[in-house]
Amino acid sequence: MAKSIDVSDLNIYYSDFLAVEGVNMTIKARSVTALIGPSGCGKSTFLRTLNRMHEVIPGARVEGKVMVGGQSLYDSDVDPVEVRRMVGMVFQRPNPFPTMSIYENVLAGVRLNSKRISKSDADALVEKSLQGANLWNEVKERLNKPGMGLSGGQQQRLCIARAIAVEPEILLMDEPCSALDPISTSAVEDLIHELKEQYTIVIVTHNMQQAARVSEDTAFFNLAATGKPGKLIEMNPTKKIFSVPDEEATEAYISGRFG
């Protein structure tokens, strides 16, 4: 489990519009990598190319290479469905399946692999995943209640439990705390700390304190101007980015002198 990601010369398009240009990046296994940058700079777009969710949007495509543990994601014989089973994703807004119970939500991904699993294995997996997402103690009494009945922060941890139940190699998080209050945010951040023991985590965040708190490495994306493609400006250890970044633009963004 847990693989590193190598991205080389990645261009990302929406139809003819070049959204992100020329990304080269190495993401270490078993660590947290934060993507920061102003709105519209392409960090979420970039994140979505790491599990081929980008191409769900009609006309969206990429050029270049994304290697996960030595396997190219965009080879013609690679099934995007397989990629998404290997690379889990947590979204900006919690999105448990509204008609499913907490229990069924956790198992949703496992059921997809059309494996028959015994009741006892399923119970064990649900407990393990919810424990892994720090949610077990809060919901163990009401596993058969709908997932939508939980608070926002609990729902988001339920989504994390759902993502880790299929034991992915990598976990992508697209602003996972932006819809949460500070207490829930802190719960999710604690969880990220624990999860990096097992998973490679890439997190997009608008909150620079959050990037500083949770990540080992930080990548700063920016656009030259409106309508121009987003670019990776700098990637460095988080400590360095927030103290002595290499680039002037990074310094300006982090210290709030941006734009």
Partner: protein, 311 residues
Amino acid sequence: MSTTTTKSGSPKRRLGDLVFANLTRGAGLIILVALAGVAVFLTLEGAPAFSAGPNDLGGKSNLLAYVAPLVFGTLLAAVIALLIAVPLALGVALSISHYAPKRIASVIGYLVDLLAAVPSVVYGLWGIGFLGPKMVPIYEWLAEHLSWIPFFAGPASNTGRTIFTASIVLALMVLPIVTAITREIFAQTPRLNEEAALALGATRWEMIRMAVLPYGRSGIVSAAMLGLGRALGETMAVALVLSASGVVTFNLISSTNPSTIAANIALTFAESNGLARNALIASGLVLFVITFVVNFSARAIVARYEPGSKK
């Protein structure tokens, strides 16, 4: 449909507001009055039929024996029509909302809507003149090879004017409304739910099963119920297509078929009088009640699936 301005005693009411509030209230009341009027008429005019004898009831001894086969035929035709139409409509709706390229999808959607605009008498003519004869070889094959299934006991009709043909015509007629409602619901599936499924590694079909269909469940039920209401009440197409003899049988492909309430009224009302006419009106009351029950149970089912306020 209550208006928000019905609360009395507000300090100052503008004339325009007052007029409009009363106009809308009046419109709402007219519906109730019309519905009540129909119910009262059907009950008053139908009541004498309870004393009707075999002479007025086409040889049946009492009203119940007269209406029961018609109810049976009505339900049978409508249920078969739904069994054909709902899966087809779901397929069409999903292909429009999730599979077909945008341009083709809008053309298909437009064509399906067009189906709803075809007058039912045209469907009836198509049923007699085209579909019926084309179905005859199929009925003959079914009667020969599958006659051990009661539905296909035969002997096969040689005009094709069977209850099964009528049901196919009905299915086509309810298809547009079921498709229109379900495709609207499917298209509204939150992107977030769809992406949740896809990001877990769902194929397109699995995504539809996990996110789209559960979200649309109550919509599917209400669409099917609306379709059922339409199929129950459809008159002209059935009256034209069906060669009815008022029997009760599950044999779908023979030339002796149960009739439906609506078709029976259309075919016999003009030349009936006296108590026979009252009996027809009584059968109309039964149809009225059935459609009422269907609509109410549809609402009950929708409300049970969706405890929230979502329609």
